[in-house]
Subunit: 520 residues, 2 copies
Amino acid sequence: MVNSLGRELPEFIGGYRVRPYQGLETAESTAVPVQSKRIVERCQAGQSKLLGSLKEALLACGLKDGMTISFHHSFREGDLVVGQVMEAIGELGIKNLRFAPSAVVNLKNFSLAKYVEDGTIIRVEASGIRGELGDHLIDGSVQMDEPAILRPHGARPRAIETGELEIDVAFIAVSASDVYGNCTGQIGTNRCGSLGYSFVDAHNANKVVVITDTLVDYPCCPASISQQYVDYVVKVDQVGDSAKIGAGAARLTKNPRDLMIAQKVVKVIAASRRFVDGFSFQTGAGAISIACTKFLAEEMEKKQVKASFALGGITAAIIDMYDAGLVRVVECSQSFDATAASAILSRPGVLEIDNADYSNAFNKGNFLNHLNFGVLGALEVDTDFNVNLLTSSSGKMMGGLGGGPDVAAGADISIVTLPIVRGRTPSVVDRVFTCCTPGETVACVVTQAGIALNPRHRNYAELREDLERAGIKPVDIQELRRLAEELTGRPEPIKTTQRIVAVVEYRDGTVVDVVREVVF
Amino acid sequence: MVNSLGRELPEFIGGYRVRPYQGLETAESTAVPVQSKRIVERCQAGQSKLLGSLKEALLACGLKDGMTISFHHSFREGDLVVGQVMEAIGELGIKNLRFAPSAVVNLKNFSLAKYVEDGTIIRVEASGIRGELGDHLIDGSVQMDEPAILRPHGARPRAIETGELEIDVAFIAVSASDVYGNCTGQIGTNRCGSLGYSFVDAHNANKVVVITDTLVDYPCCPASISQQYVDYVVKVDQVGDSAKIGAGAARLTKNPRDLMIAQKVVKVIAASRRFVDGFSFQTGAGAISIACTKFLAEEMEKKQVKASFALGGITAAIIDMYDAGLVRVVECSQSFDATAASAILSRPGVLEIDNADYSNAFNKGNFLNHLNFGVLGALEVDTDFNVNLLTSSSGKMMGGLGGGPDVAAGADISIVTLPIVRGRTPSVVDRVFTCCTPGETVACVVTQAGIALNPRHRNYAELREDLERAGIKPVDIQELRRLAEELTGRPEPIKTTQRIVAVVEYRDGTVVDVVREVVF
C-alpha cells in the first residue's frame, strides 16, 4: 500500500490497522457521537479525595494490567510526576500498560525505557518520543509488539473523543489544587501555566488523579480543571521544576544564521496582504521562532499593525507583545516559560485554552482555522515540501510532531523554517526520512539561503504576488537542495530494517508515514 | 405505589416510568459512562457559522418533528430569545418538540402555552414552569399526553449525561459572541453574566446555536463557551433585557416580617460552630435571602469571620461582601442582577461556574458538598419538614425547584425560610401540597414565629446544642403549624383530579411527588 505522499505502508502493523493518508480533501470525517469513559457517579458529601500516596491512588483507581494511562507534558523537561507515578506502578507490579501522554519528553533522571523493557509499558501513544526511549526504539535496542502511535496535538483529542484512545487513568500534575481537585498550573511554587493538554483527559478519562505539591484552601482560585472531573488528589514533594520548562524547546539564540532566517520570515509576513490590523499568528518556541517573535514585534511597531490574537505555545516574547498593546488576545494552550506561565493570571487578555480548542480539526471549530501566519520548525524538508519533525538526517529520534502538522494545515500562510544544513548533513533533501507534515499544507520554506514557495499550496498565487510586490525573490526548493548538497555532499541513505517501530498519524487518524528501525 | 415521603405514585404516567424516591441512602447511583450527542466532526477552515436568521439556523441544524430543544434562563424575565426561536419554529411548522430549558420563566410578552396548544411542543422538562403555561397545565386548560418533568438544577446535568435528556439543538443566548461562537454573558449591551446553565448543553447537545445581539471581533475575550462546541451563530436585534434579570426573584424587601425572618436566620448561622473563618454559604436571591446576605455581612464584620466562598445565584449584596474582603471566592452559577453579571470580568475571585459543578450530585464532586450554610425559600413546609417550592397553598403554579432540593441535601445546615402564613392561607401545614425537597434534608425552618429544628436531620444534635449555647430556644414545627392555623383557620383541601400534569424528580431521577390537575 502506498499513501498519497508516496510512503509505503503495510495494511497492518501488529494489531494496528493502517488507514493511509490520501490527501487533505479525502481526509476521513468521523461523524460519530463523542465517546467518554467518564462515569456518571455519585460523590457523596464528606467523601475525601485526598490520598496519602500515589500507590494509594493507583489502588483506588483500580489500575490493572492492560489499562491506559495519560499525562501532560507542560512541565517539559522539568517534569517530576511521570517518574513518580511509574515508580509506584512498578512497585505494584502492574504490567502491559498503554502509556499515552501528550508527549514523551527527555527526562534526565528517569528512564522510561526501563519500564518498556520490563513489560510495564507495552504500548506508547504520544505526539513524540524524545530522549532515551525514542533512541532505543529506533535503534531496536528496546522493542514493542505494537508500534508507537505518534499523533500531532490536534489529533489526540480527536482520538480520545472517537474512542480510539480510551484513557483509564489520567494523572494530571498541577502547581496547586484543593483537596477536592479544583486545580491550576497558575499559582503555587512550581507553575507550568496553561493546562491546555489536560482538559480532554480530565473530561474523558475514567479516573482522574490530580497530583500537586501545593495544597491550597478550598476552593482553589483560579481553577483550570474543576472538581467535577477529579477522582483523587495526591500531594507529592515536588511536581516539577519550572525553571526547566524553558530549557528544551524554548531557548534563545545568538546564532547569526538563525537570526537571518527569522528576519526572512518576518519579511514574508510583512509582505503578505494578510499582515493588517487584526491579523493572527503563531510563532512557537524554537530558537528561530523566538527570534521571529522579536522581529515581528518590531515590524508591527514600525508599521503600526496590531494582531487580534497570538496562539499556541506561548513565550515571554509574546507576553511582551501583549503588554506593548500589539496583541489583543493571547490564546495559550501551553506556557513555554515562567513569564508565560504567570501571565494568564495577571493579564485579562491572556487566556488558558484547551488544546482541542487550539488544534483539533474534528470538533466544531478551532483557533487554527482562523490563523493567518504559522511559523514552524523542522528537522528536514524535502522538495515536495514534506516536513520531518521526528528524525534527524542520521535517523535518530530527535523531535516530536507537536502541533506542527495542525498549524501547517490551519494557517493561511504556513512558514517552515530551517537551516539548509545541520552539521555535515543537508536538511533540504529529495525525500524526508520521516514524513510528518504533508507538503501540500506548507506555503513556504524559509532558510538562510532563500525562501521557497510551494506551488501546490492553496495560497501560492497570493503569496507569490505579495512577495513580488515587496521585491522578495523566492528561490526554487530544488535550488535549496542543491545548495545544501554542495555544502555537505549527498549523504549515504539511512539503512533500515523492515521492522516498524512507530506510526505517524495525521490529524484525522490516517497514516502519513511509519518509522522503521534504523541500522546504525 | 407509595414513595418514602408517603406520596402516592402510579408506575407509569404516559410513557414515563416512575422510579419512586426511597430516601437519600437508597438514591440510585448510575455508574454508566457519560453519554453525549455531540458529534466528532470536521469543521473546515473558512466554513462560516454565521447565519442570517434563526430560521436558517433551524434548517441548518436539521430541526425536525419530535426533537428536543433547550435554552438557559439566565436572562430570567428579561429573556427575548425563547420567543424569537419559538416563533421561527412555528413559522417552519415543526411540531411535537420536547422543550427542555433550564427553567420556564414568566415571560410577559410571549405565550409559550400557545405552542403547547398547537402541538409545536408536546413535552416540557425544566426546573420549574412559571407563568401562563404552568397555570394552564395545572388547571387543565392546556393538556399534554406526557407529564412535564421538573428537575432541580443539579438533576438536569445528570439527566443529560445519562442520556435521559438528549438535547438535539441547544439555543444559547449570549450578550457577546464572535462569528465562530466563542461567547460570553459578560460583555456587550445586554449582559446576563454567568452562563452556568449552558455549559452542559454546549458540551452535550448534538447542535448548538449561539444567539447574540453583539458580534465582537474574533476572538471573543472572555470566552465562557468555546467555538469548539458551537455549530452556528445568529445575530438578532436583542437577546434580553438585563434590567429585568433582577425583576423576578431578586427583589429587595422592606417588609418587617421578612427582615425579622432574615435576622433569625443569621442568628442560627452565627450560633453554629461552623460559623468560623473559611466557612461557606449560599443565600440566594429571594426577598428574605437578600436581607439575610446583608445581615450576615454585618455579623461577619462584627465577629471578624471571613468566608471561603459564596455559592450559586449571586446578587450585588454578595459582590459587596467580596469587595469588603468578607468572601474569598464567589462561585457564580447564575448572576441575579447587573452588578453580579459584571463582577466576573472585573474581579479575579468572582468565578463563572458550570451549574453541574455547583449542584450535580452525580459527578465526581460539586460545590454543594462543601457548603456549610444554605438559605432557602419555600412556598410551604410541612410538619415532616418537606418543602413545597412549586405550588401555592391554593394549588397555583408559583415557583420552580431551582437548586432548592440540591442545596438542602448539600448544605451542612440547610435553613428553609418562610412566613407562617401568606395572605389567608397557612404556609406551615400538615402535608405540603407538592413535595419538592424531602424533609430529611432540611435542618431547620425559620419563620417570624420561631425556629423549628428537624430531629431527622443528620446535624440535628449539633445544631440543637449550638442554638442552646447561644440562648436560642427553638419551637416545635407542630407549634408553628398551630400558630399558622390559628391565624387563618384550616383551609379546605385542594381538590384535584387523578390526571397528573407534572412529575417532580429528585437529584437522582427518582420521583418525590407528582402534581395533579387542580379543580379550582
